[in-house]
């Protein structure tokens, strides 16, 4: 989004104005109150204090799973709090923590287990807030495979990221053995082989399978009892030196996610479709339904989960599991893994 407008100079300025007009117009069907508020703020901000440039490195190409961030950017909520956020898509998740550790990007997306493992090894990363209460990772299989529970995967071939913590967890906690095949981020083999089982996003690959006429079965990996958050994490030093900006980023991003979950999707889906032609509007609508059905964004209210909330107890459970798996050498407090003091207090649960 930002790249499109900023690289074109004068044209970009025009485009920005047009976009602002469009947004005001489009807000009629979305979150009317907040958009009306931002219109003056948007024009006032640049003249007062320069915006602070930061980069949010996502974990994949633009997709609705990043909807709240793109919406916050599009609606000007980052600018409103003094941030110029570049949302940078990525497709090489393995190297992203290193980018954050080296402060080449300030923020990135990942899972809380990886964050804690990295933190435990002295990598200067700090969690900011969960944007998903549960990880959308799941296993996808053909219905006729007879798989009903995760334990049924015993002895089968499963295409996964072999380094994923889930793999170690499933094998150790369920006492099963998986024949691992490295993930190639494609469903080509799944489509042609009815015995094929693979890791995927609840919100993504099953749609492609459906387009090919396959009603795939899915089991969320978070149902294994290993249930990390999907979080925004940041460079710890940067956060220590810029707590105000970090706090502002959390607030504006959560505002984006709140609005996205509440139905402000039309404009952001249009932008995502433009940035990533692989995303069609019906696909994105389906993705959002999946997010709602599996309670990814808002979590399970019966368990006191809500958008952005960190539960110290849940982090502690995860820490214990990681110690059991041998991925963490010693205890780590929730306050050491997350910058909880920067979160809105009502989002920190005991």
């Amino acid at each position: 989004m930002r790249k499109l407008t900023s690289t074109r100079g004068a044209q970009g300025a025009c485009a920005r104005w047009l976009l602002a007009l469009l947004l005001i117009h489009a807000s009629g069907c979305g979150d009317a109150g907040s958009s009306a508020e931002n219109a003056p703020a948007q024009s006032a901000a640049p003249s007062d204090t320069p915006l602070v440039k930061v980069i949010l490195q996502t974990d994949w190409y633009p997709q609705p799973e990043h909807g709240g961030f793109y919406l916050a950017d599009l609606a000007g909520w980052y600018e409103e709090v003094g941030l110029d956020v570049e949302i940078r898509p990525g497709a090489n998740p393995g190297s992203i923590p290193q980018l954050v550790a080296g402060n080449q990007v300030q923020f990135a997306l990942g899972t809380s287990d990886n964050l804690i493992v990295a933190r435990g090894r002295g990598v200067p990363l700090i969690g900011l807030f969960p944007y998903f209460q549960h990880d959308p990772q799941c296993v996808m299989f053909h219905r006729e495979s007879g798989i009903r529970t995760l334990a049924d995967l015993d002895g089968r071939r499963v295409m996964v990221n072999p380094g994923a913590t889930y793999v170690a967890w499933l094998q150790q906690s369920l006492g099963i053995r998986l024949q691992l095949i490295p993930l190639d981020y494609s469903i080509a083999r799944f489509l042609s082989d009815p015995t094929f089982i693979q890791q995927c996003f609840l919100t993504s690959e099953p749609w492609y399978a459906k387009q090919e006429g396959i009603e795939a079965g899915v089991l969320p990996l978070s149902s294994s009892g290993f249930d990390p958050y999907r979080v925004v994490y940041a460079n710890a030093d940067w956060v220590a030196n810029n707590p105000t900006h970090a706090r502002a980023f959390i607030a504006a991003s959560l505002r984006g996610w709140r609005a996205y979950a509440d139905g402000d999707t039309v404009r952001v889906h249009a932008v995502i479709a433009e940035l990533n032609p692989g995303q069609s509007l019906p696909f994105m609508a389906w993705t959002r339904e999946q997010m709602a059905q599996f309670q990814l964004i808002d979590g399970n209210p019966d368990r006191n989960e809500t958008l952005g909330r960190v539960s110290r107890a849940r982090v502690q459970d995860l820490v214990q599991q990681l110690i059991t798996l041998g991925l963490l050498d010693s205890e780590l407090a929730a306050d050491d893994a997350f910058a909880l003091d920067l979160m809105p207090p009502e989002l920190v649960a005991p």
């Binding site: 493992v117 090894r121 490295p182 083999r189």
Partner: protein, 262 residues
């Protein structure tokens, strides 16, 4: 004295490198997740020794099979190409096409055909090694000294005699150069093959598989230890080729004869 100097100098050099390594970590305060110290790498290697040993063995098997298949296959294809100008002219462009297609593009097709596991990894290794051998050996077989060919013609040597006693020996140094290039590429092929076609339960997989796991789990010292292990495989193959080359060429080829002069 001479022998002592031969070993002393590399040892001193290595010690200097180690000192620079520790020095750089101390002076620039490099954290161990970016550059672990040598003793941390050794410790991590010992910690992960079971998976590293199985991984190295598995990868070495893929390397051995892939490499020797490419040596035999490369030799046969080169002989075929050298046996007739027509075959050479007809086939060479297509061999080049296959050679120019990056292995990253071919690998998924191989997996589709040969399935996940050691067979695919071996085929990937084979393909990576195959072309340098074919290209060099064919070049060698086709650049025999014209005077020698004339001599063979004068004595009415048959085509087979010409190939066996003239072309093949003359092509040997070229062949060895191809082998040397292939030997260095072997671990690359096998490790890459592992990352796409590998299979295991997590701790009993090839080195490329382990590299993915170590990287995902931020086990940076273990990652360096895996690099060291793959380096050992590379050395093994290059030494093997050097030995073959020495056996085949030492009696007559200039590259060996000149080296022995005082």
């Amino acid at each position: 004295m001479k022998a002592a100097g031969r070993y002393l100098w590399p040892i001193l050099f290595g010690l200097a490198l180690l000192a620079m390594w520790y020095g750089a970590i101390a002076i620039f305060a490099i954290p161990d997740y970016q550059l672990p110290a040598p003793h941390q790498i050794i410790a991590a290697g010992l910690d992960e020794r079971d998976s590293l040993i199985t991984g190295t063995l598995q990868t070495t098997i893929a390397c051995l099979v892939g490499f020797f298949a490419s040596v035999v296959g490369g030799m046969l294809l080169s002989l075929l190409l050298a046996s007739s100008d027509w075959i050479f002219r007809g086939a060479w462009p297509y061999i080049l096409i296959l050679k120019m297609t990056p292995i990253i593009v071919i690998a998924p097709i191989i997996i589709l055909w040969a399935g996940q596991g050691l067979v695919s990894i071996t085929i990937i290794t084979f393909l990576v090694c195959f072309f340098p051998i074919v290209a060099n050996t064919t070049m060698g077989l086709r650049s025999t000294d014209l005077g020698h060919l004339d001599l063979f013609a004068v004595y009415r040597a048959t085509r087979w005699q010409q190939l066996l006693w003239l072309r093949a020996p003359a092509a040997l140094p070229f062949f060895m150069t191809g082998l040397r290039i292939a030997a260095a590429l072997t671990p690359i092929g096998a490790l890459y093959g592992d990352t796409v076609a590998g299979m295991g339960t997590g701790n009993d997989a090839g080195l490329g598989f382990l590299v993915i796991i170590f990287n995902a789990q931020f086990k940076v010292p273990a990652l360096f230890a895996a690099a060291l292990a793959s380096c050992v495989i590379g050395f093994l193959f290059v030494s093997l080729v050097n030995l073959m080359s020495w056996l085949a060429l030492r009696r007559w080829h200039e590259s060996y004869l000149q080296g022995d002069r005082p």
